[in-house]
């Protein structure tokens, strides 16, 4: 049965009442996996006073940034205009960013703010009472928001709703009250250092395989994907999805680097630039994964870290990771888009836009545009390698989320709602009239592919590396 038939109009109660799934947690507990015994990954335990611990964590993790966003909201409702959940479900009052944020704000008001502690009813302050309430909160912060930050940019008061959502997620992660998918991915990243539990053997063999294919394709036995080479111009880091499911992007990159005559390497360890800590709100995991990358670059004395096409990976590795890990940046880090731009600018590679003649549009990933600052660079590259580029509207900082952000792709239970609210994005895509939609995020690739299928659009998702590699003149 296809997706089209499964999601008519979803009742929001069906989403917010989804139970806490514990199968994987029980398995992890039985197997006594390292990350659990070492206390990195928390399992849900109904015996522990979870509500009280929630309040303690709320207090402990509070920062000035968060506190100001907690107190500044005036309940004006302007943010409702910007959220793809609201715009796709205008009749559902529980979709507004402010409603979602209020679910955590009310607890802040009740326990930390002033008026709410004395007159809770007056300011709608309140507190979870049972673990069931926490589960309800889990469904709201994980299931009804993709943390895209669009509302943040549209709030007259400058309230960072997406930051509040991530904060709530982080506390719930510390209590083990998370969707099963979030638990699984966190477990894998703690256990294996990468999101998809790719073993070192699989990693190395896949790279080797890509190398062989490339050597064959170009009929050149000298082409290499260097591993752990020291003193290179840059260290290339990737998304494990590229190893596990679609290594074509690695071969595109290797091909371009080869023609640019680049001195590059991939690390044996610390190659995963993605970071599930961004989605789960777990700064500890965020710190661990980011540090792996930074330390690998230091170990190899690489002059630069290059991050492959990935939205949350770019945001985590380039920006947030240093703060999570409390690590002063000492080596430049950049998206591969910048690397490509330099190659084209300096004439290190030659490209012919006529080779990509199909109409192509660009989807800005939330984490790269709104939260990452790469706005013009991808467009610059696309205009060099495509002959029919069409802008999407709205775009850049105002682009809509692919609807699969915030880790939602790993949480199947929320998919029907995700597909319903992807309508905004589908309409936006359709209006461009393009045949290809290009994005620089693997997460968006899957999010967009899902919605293209769901809404039966005549489109294909591509990435910049693929287009550049295709446009190469050798």
């Amino acid at each position: 049965m296809s997706d089209k038939n499964i999601s008519k109009k979803i009742k929001i109660e069906d989403v917010t009442s989804l139970p806490l799934e514990l199968e994987s947690q029980q398995k992890a507990s039985k197997e006594k996996i390292g990350s659990v015994t070492e206390g990195k990954l928390t399992l849900y335990d109904r015996q522990k006073r979870n509500v009280e611990r929630f309040h303690e964590l709320l207090r402990k993790k509070m920062t000035r940034q968060l506190a100001s966003s907690m107190v500044a909201c005036v309940h004006c409702g302007m943010c409702a205009e910007s959220c793809h959940y609201c715009l796709s479900r205008p009749d559902d009052p529980q979709m507004t960013p402010v409603y979602k944020a209020d679910q955590i704000r009310r607890i802040f008001k009740k326990h930390i703010d002033w008026t709410g502690r004395v007159f809770p009813k007056w300011v709608k302050a309140g507190s979870p009472v049972t673990d069931e309430d926490l589960n309800h909160l889990k469904n709201i912060v994980f299931g009804t928001c993709s943390a895209c930050r669009r509302c943040t940019f549209n709030c007259p008061m400058g309230v960072d709703t997406a930051l509040l959502i991530r904060f709530a997620r982080g506390i719930l992660t510390d209590l083990g009250i998370v969707p099963e998918g979030v638990f699984n991915v966190s477990r894998d990243q703690w256990e294996t250092g990468n999101q998809m539990a790719v073993t070192e053997e699989d990693y190395l063999e896949t790279l080797d395989w890509m190398k062989e294919e490339l050597q064959e394709e170009l009929d050149n036995p000298d082409i290499d994907i260097p591993i752990d080479t020291e003193d290179c111009d840059f260290m290339y880091t990737i998304n494990p999805r590229e190893i596990k499911f679609d290594p074509r992007s690695i071969s595109h990159a290797a091909k371009i680097f080869h023609f640019a005559d680049e001195k590059w390497t991939m690390p044996k360890w610390g190659w995963d630039q993605t970071n599930f800590g961004l989605f789960s709100g777990d700064d500890k995991l965020g710190a661990y994964v980011a540090k792996n990358v930074y330390e690998a670059a230091e170990r190899l004395r690489a002059k630069r870290i290059v991050i492959s096409e990935c939205g949350h990976g770019y945001r985590s590795t380039r920006w947030e990771g240093y703060n999570w890990a409390e690590y002063d940046q000492n080596i430049p880090a950049e998206s591969v888009i910048l690397t490509l731009m330099r190659y084209i600018q300096n004439g290190r590679i030659k490209v012919n836009p006529a080779k990509n003649s199909e109409p192509v549009t660009f989807h800005d990933s939330c984490n790269i545009a709104r939260s990452g600052g790469l706005l013009e660079e991808p467009r610059w590259v696309l205009n060099k390698v495509c002959s029919d580029y069409r802008e999407m509207s709205p775009n850049r900082r105002e682009n809509f989320c692919c609807a699969g952000g915030g880790g939602l792709l790993s949480m199947a239970e929320y998919k029907p709602l995700r597909m319903e609210v992807a309508k905004i994005k589908a309409d936006q895509l359709k209006a461009t009239g393009a045949k290809l939609v290009c994005t620089i995020c693997h997460n968006c690739v899957d999010g967009l592919t899902d919605l293209i299928k769901h809404y039966d659009l005549d489109m294909k998702v591509v990435q910049v590396l693929e287009l550049v590699s295709h446009a190469l003149v050798v």
Binding site: T63, V98, Y322
Partner: protein
């Protein structure tokens, strides 16, 4: 002028104002008690420029899509907050510079603005009740603050001509309300303007640091990189 009005216009007003300032200072200290995170990555933008940009957001109706889509809300916002400024100005003009309200045109301007704010307030109240999304998030404080403001604008409208020899009660009510306000505000949503610089500063700093706005041509690496 009766003693009670004199007392309200001067002593009570000053005491209430001092109280407000005192609570605000406490409140700012309270906010500063929470730790702030510093950025440890290299910047790609101009954080200072972006903070300025972010702070000026109120004056840039084109900067946000939500406002571009609903320009009427911006007009409302301006009228409502102008009403607040003019009403507060009146609370100082009446005791300390009443000559100004001898000029009929000034009185009309003040009355016009406060009157418009009154109408906007009514509209906002209607919206708060009628729009299910807004109703769901509204607290008693939201309703009460808004009704209070509407009432305040109404009273200010009547008090501004400053005709205490004809009838004193609008003035008494106006100054009594002002005093109540000054004490209530720091504990309610009306004090939001105190937080605006904070949220805007943080947002501006983060976005400026990352070059989401005010991007530098070249990432500024430390010397030698």
């Amino acid at each position: 002028m009766s003693d009670i009005l004199y007392f309200l216009e001067n002593k009570v007003q000053i005491v209430a104002l001092s109280f407000l300032l005192f609570v605000y200072i406490l409140r700012i200290f309270w906010l500063f008690r929470f730790k702030s995170r510093k950025e440890q990555s290299y910047s790609e933008g101009n954080a200072t420029a972006c903070i300025a940009h972010s702070m000026l957001n109120v004056a840039m109706p084109w900067a946000m899509e939500s406002i571009r889509k609903k320009p009427f809300f911006y007009i409302q916002f301006i009228l409502f907050h102008m009403g607040v400024i003019f009403a507060i100005a009146a609370t100082f003009i009446i005791p300390y510079g009443p000559q100004l309200f001898n000029i009929q045109a000034v009185v009309w301007i003040f009355q016009f603005i406060v009157g418009m704010a009154f109408i906007v307030g009514m509209f906002r109240l209607y919206r708060r009740f009628a729009n299910p999304s807004i109703r769901l998030i509204s607290s008693r404080d939201d309703y009460f603050s808004l009704i209070l403001m509407i009432f305040y604008f109404g009273v200010a409208f009547l008090a501004i001509p400053n005709n205490y020899h004809r009838s004193e009660w609008p003035l008494i009510l106006f100054f009594a309300l002002t005093a109540f306000f000054l004490i209530y505000v720091p504990f309610s949503k009306i004090g939001h303007y105190l937080y605006y610089p904070f949220t805007r500063f943080f947002l501006g700093r983060t976005m400026g640091h990352r070059g989401v706005y005010a991007k530098r041509k070249k990432c500024r690496y430390p010397e030698g990189l």
